[in-house]
């Protein structure tokens, strides 16, 4: 059951990722990417990383992709679907991506990843265990990311301000 679900999500995610790349209209790109995000959310659930799954949906599907969609609508980019790189460049880019993929997959496929134990039983995806790590070991990066947010905020204001 789980395996079938996994493969189903994989195929769906890959399909939508592929469509992200090849679809011509920005709005389709956004929607396919959103679909891919949901598939990845499903993957997180399969990994029993519930908290991550929900946060993933909130952040990516709920905020980031909405912003993308918002931008597409605000700029009315529908008509811009037509322009594309020359075919040769596209083929070259595809080839580059493909080669990267083949190389990486080829290399990584061979590695035997040493694993701790039966992953289905792990409870690390639960909020409490994550929180313990986040607020203990990773407290400093957590605090520092507030600096990052602050800078992003100031930056957004700077960009959005009228001159």
């Amino acid at each position: 059951m789980k395996v079938y679900l996994f493969y189903f999500l994989c195929i769906l995610a890959l399909y939508s990722a592929f469509m992200v790349v090849i679809s011509k209209k920005p709005i389709h790109t956004v929607l396919y990417l959103t679909l891919a995000m949901f598939c990845l959310g499903g993957h997180y659930v399969l990994l029993n990383a519930q908290f991550l799954a929900v946060v993933h949906i909130i952040v990516y599907a709920g905020a980031i992709m909405v912003l993308f969609l918002f931008t597409v609508m605000l700029l009315n980019l529908n008509k811009e679907g037509e322009f594309q790189k020359p075919a040769l460049v596209q083929v070259a880019a595809m080839a580059a991506g493909g080669i990267l993929m083949i190389t990486l997959v080829g290399v990584l496929k061979q590695t035997d990843v040493v694993m701790a134990k039966d992953p289905t039983m792990t409870q690390i995806g639960l909020v409490s265990s994550l929180a313990k790590v986040l607020y203990h070991e990773y407290l400093l990066p957590f605090e520092v990311s507030s600096v990052l947010f602050l800078s992003a905020m100031v930056g957004a204001v700077l960009l959005g301000k009228k001159d």
């Binding site: 709005i27 929607l31 959103t34 519930q50 908290f51 929900v54 946060v55 949906i57 909130i58 599907a61 709920g62 905020a63 909405v66 912003l67 969609l69 918002f70 609508m73 605000l74 009315n76 639960l126 909020v127």
Partner: protein, 341 residues
């Protein structure tokens, strides 16, 4: 056991969906009735006694109306929009504890479809996804009013989600859990969160209004400016989906408010009632629905009282008032918790 479990969950889900739909249906009637009453009118009273069959009539009317689709609209997305909205609206009900458990033949049946331990976040996630239906629908209509409505909806929902989340966090800080069931159980008796989180409650209420696109935040569909906003081009049952979804959302928000701030299915002095567990549960469910009804009423009451915001006022309220307030609330909560421990 497995079979039984699935059957029970399926029954529960179907029951909840049915109830949601029913309530949404009658919310439309209630809305119209209340609007009439606030305006010293009577409201619909022709279909059935007191107009009770009016929602049915509306539904039938919507079904029979012409399926209209703008020629330049994107067919798939045009249909996807309302469907998504409806789907998302219905999804939220899964984590709401409708009542305490029922004990039948020694088996305990919880009245909650899924007690996931991050229920609040689940709600939040679903709510944040809710905007897609509106945006896609508005975009696919290929109509400037619809597009404007969609854009407004998106920015409004994103903006108010933040304050909403922040106000929820204060509750979560107090209760120390993300599970709605546990939050509800902590409020047993008269120990409601609203006594501790009045500010949070107000913020949440305002944000809930905005998230459900209810007046005074109904800018996405504001008739005077945008004709009908994102659903300008919609008709027939697709429009019905949008309208329905709004009422379902309202119902769910009322339920969540009841659960988070008003003790859910708990009521004062319940432990003193000399009744069996199951009866108590049923009373609890009724109490919850009473609370939901009350908040549904509050939603409508507000709608028919307050004038619509201007768009810049809306944004200003969201970003400059509610978010700082919510942060303030959170900080205060943190301090108090720290002091008490």
């Amino acid at each position: 056991m497995e079979y039984q479990f699935i059957l029970y969950k399926a029954t529960l889900s179907i029951a909840i969906l049915t109830v949601s739909l029913l309530i949404a249906m009658y919310s439309t009637l209630a809305e119209r009735k209340l609007a009439a009453f606030f305006q010293d009118r009577l409201g619909p009273d022709r279909a059935g006694p007191f107009g009770l069959l009016q929602p049915l009539a509306d539904g039938i009317k919507l079904f029979y109306k012409e399926e209209f689709m703008p020629a330049s609209a994107n067919k798939f997305l045009y249909i996807l929009g309302p469907s998504l909205t409806m789907l998302v609206a219905l999804l939220t009900s899964a984590v709401i504890p409708w009542g305490n458990s029922l004990i039948i033949n020694g088996h305990e049946f919880s009245l909650q479809v899924a007690d996931i331990n991050i229920g609040i976040l689940y709600v939040f996630a679903v709510v944040s996804v809710g905007v897609y239906g509106i945006m896609i629908g508005g975009w696919a209509s290929n109509n400037k009013y619809a597009l404007l409505g969609a854009i407004r909806a998106a920015s409004q929902m994103i903006s108010y989600e933040l304050a909403m989340g922040l106000s929820i966090i204060a509750v979560v800080m107090m209760s120390g859990t993300l599970s709605i069931q546990k939050i509800v159980d902590q409020q047993a008796g008269f120990n409601w969160n609203v006594w501790y989180q009045p500010l949070g409650f107000v913020i949440f209420l305002v944000c809930a209004l905005a998230e459900t696109n209810r007046a005074p935040f109904d800018l996405p569909e504001c008739e005077t400016e945008l004709v009908g906003g994102y659903h300008t081009e919609y008709s027939s049952m697709k429009l019905g989906f949008y309208l329905f979804a709004e009422y379902i959302n309202m119902f769910i928000s009322a339920a969540i408010i009841s659960c988070l701030y008003f003790g859910g299915y708990h009521f004062p002095f319940e432990s003193m009632l000399p009744v069996s567990h199951n009866i108590l549960t049923i009373i609890g469910v009724l109490i919850l629905f009473l609370k939901i009804t009350f908040f549904g009423f509050v939603f409508m009451w507000i709608r028919w009282t307050l004038p619509r915001f201007r768009y810049d006022q809306l944004m200003k309220l969201g970003w400059k008032k509610l978010i700082p307030l919510a942060i303030f609330n959170m900080v205060i909560t943190g301090f108090v918790i720290r002091l008490l421990h």
